[in-house]
Amino acid sequence: MAAVQTRSERALHRLAIAAVLVITLLFLAPIYWITSTAFKPRNLATTIPPTVIFEPEISPFVKLFTKRSQLRTAPAPEVYAAAPWWERLVFDGGEKVVRSGRGEVQLSGYPNRFMNSLIVAITSTVLAVGMGTFTAYGFSRFRVKGEADLLFFILSTRMLPPVVVAIPMFLMYRAVGLNDTHWGLIILYTAFNLSFSVWLMKGFIDEIPKEYEEAALVDGYTRLEAFFKIVLPEAATGIAATAVFCFITAWNEYAFALIMTNRRAQTAPPFIPSQVGSGLPDWTVIAAGTFLFLLPVAIFTFLLRNHLLRGMSFGAIRK
């Protein structure tokens, strides 16, 4: 469907497209930078001007996943000969680093932190979206006393920058022993996301005609069955959109993760920058860590992209 356009409108249209392209490139540039650095040999990572064409390597990832320490000289030939293939990749780069200790493979802190991130983000997203959906359904379908006040109260938990309460939260967590635990972070992130999830889901559920459930009710289903068989499938779009937002928030959260965790439950965001400070920073390793950190959100969002697009414009158009 192409509406009639005058010449000036066409010119304007082209200009708009050009602007969109420029903005897109600007947004993509840091992602390109990180991605390319993650595959660069170490000596090309900090060249000025930046090296654009190079032979990609996976040695940054090897270094990322294993514990190693710096040597004064290049490794001895017998060490080189005894090393596995991925170890040699690191030596081939001309680096004077070896696996720590007596040569056994030791995992670095990264995989553990990455797993922590996954556990915390996925669990808190499931909790926030699940509880949010039930709460929103209640507000949407039943007459709740003081509904407006309650909803405002739920929203008001978002009105303060979360970091403001970091110190009291830290003290409370220490008192109840939630410091540096997965559940500590999960509870925290669920609480952040819950108000957002309730409000978003209420909008989506309000859009689902009440008659759908009423039809199921007279057809012999209980309200809970009607909820699972009718409301949930109809709200799938909204749930997907809400889940993406909640997941991104929990995945990216830095401040609380830094304060509340240090070893057992530390997530990736505070871990990656902590590597910058230890000795001479190896930017390729940091870039490799960041690159892997970007992937889950990218994959998650990509999988749900159709739902997300519909979710964003949900309610904007009446069918």
């Binding site: 009423e214 009710l217 012999g220």
Partner: protein
């Protein structure tokens, strides 16, 4: 075999009373139409029977059993919504099978039942489609199929064809009637369209502001409305209403419409009947349908002179506004009977179609001439 009975139903939404002391008994296999304007409580009544709405007082009985405390799912009643309310994420087949799956029948049985219903409604070719791919009429057929498939005790329909266009509405009306004759289940149907009510109902229940106005066959409701509201709500074009004074003359009762220069003659028994019913001048309204106003092009014995004001040609007949002084009467004539507005015509009232109401309450005196 399903009888439904409503006893002293009361329902309030906050301060608004939407159903006031409603009593109604519905016989087995009967097609009942609840008729009224929007907000008259007809849909609330239907939803109360289905169990989608609680009632504040009274009893809903299905086959003699009080069900007002039973959940909707336990009442074994089917409901067809105006919005059809087909589940968009299911195919037509799954939509129709949905009520059967609630009772967990086996797979082949469900398949057979759905096919049978689809065949009755001639929608077999649509079974694999999604509701979004259907036309309005087909959506309604599927919605009715979903209601029929369970063989419920009763079918409740809330303006099921209100969302369709005029031509399709007529088609579906005939189809619903045919289906009811064939399947024969107790049906309660809600509409604001009096034509739908007249054409479908075994009995019509007219409601106004939460109060039941009249229950009767379409003919009874049309020919003998119990009050001014029913008289004006049922029938199109609407019944003429005018304040009148009745006086006795030699062989006639003379009925003078307020603002009209001359009186109409009606049979002399009228005065006695009015007196017996306790009617008095000054609190008396005459109602007469347009087809009860007889028009002549020449002066005739017992006819009153009038001026043709506006003519609405409707093809099969014309509706003419007759001006009698300050009073206006609508009459129905053969098409083209009166050539043009402004000409003089003569009119008489058909006594058999004259209704008399108490102006203050609107109640009919029940006089038949």
């Amino acid at each position: 075999m399903t009888q439904i009975e409503l006893r002293n139903i009361e329902k309030r939404f906050g301060a608004v009373q939407v159903i006031k002391n409603l009593n109604l008994a519905i016989a087995d296999n009967e097609f009942i139409v609840l008729l009224g304007q929007s907000g008259c409580g007809k849909t609330t009544t239907l939803r109360a029977i289905a169990g989608l709405e609680t009632i504040d007082e009274g009893d809903v009985l299905i086959d003699g059993q009080p069900v007002q405390h039973m959940k909707a799912s336990a009442r074994d009643i089917a409901f067809v919504f105006q919005s059809f309310s087909l589940y968009p994420h299911m195919t037509v087949f799954e939509n129709i099978a949905f009520p059967l799956r609630a009772t967990r029948g086996n797979r082949s049985e469900i398949e057979r039942e759905v096919q049978a219903v689809a065949k009755t409604l001639q929608i077999t070719h649509l079974l694999s489609k999604r509701p979004s791919a259907l036309s309005g009429g087909d959506m309604q057929r599927v919605a009715i199929g979903r209601a029929l498939v369970r063989r419920p005790k009763a079918m409740l329909m809330d303006e099921p064809i209100g969302a369709l266009d005029a031509k399709l509405r007529e088609e579906m009306r005939a189809e619903i009637k045919r289906l009811h004759i064939k399947q024969g289940s107790t049906t309660i149907y809600v509409t604001h369209d009096q034509v739908e009510a007249m054409s479908l109902a075994d009995r019509i229940v007219v409601m106004h502001e939460g109060v039941l106005q009249q229950v009767g066959t379409p003919h009874e409701v049309y020919a003998h409305p119990s009050n001014m509201f029913v008289a004006q709500f049922v029938g199109s074009p609407v019944m003429n209403m005018a304040e009148v004074t009745v006086s006795e003359a030699a062989q006639h009762a003379q009925v003078l419409l307020r603002g009209a220069p001359t009186a109409f003659n009606l049979p002399s028994t009228l005065t006695a009947q009015l007196a017996a019913a306790g009617a008095e001048n000054g609190n008396l309204t005459l109602g007469i349908r347009p087809e009860g106003v007889l028009v002549s092009r020449e002066p005739r014995e017992g006819f009153v002179t009038a001026e043709a004001h506006i003519i609405e040609p409707l093809g099969s007949h014309d509706i003419i506004d007759l001006q009698l002084g300050d009073q206006m009467l609508r009459a129905r004539t053969k098409s083209g009977f009166v050539q043009r507005p402004g000409v003089a015509v003569w009119a008489r009232l058909n006594p058999a179609q004259a209704h008399f109401f108490k102006s203050s309450t609107g109640a009919s005196f029940g006089i038949r001439l």
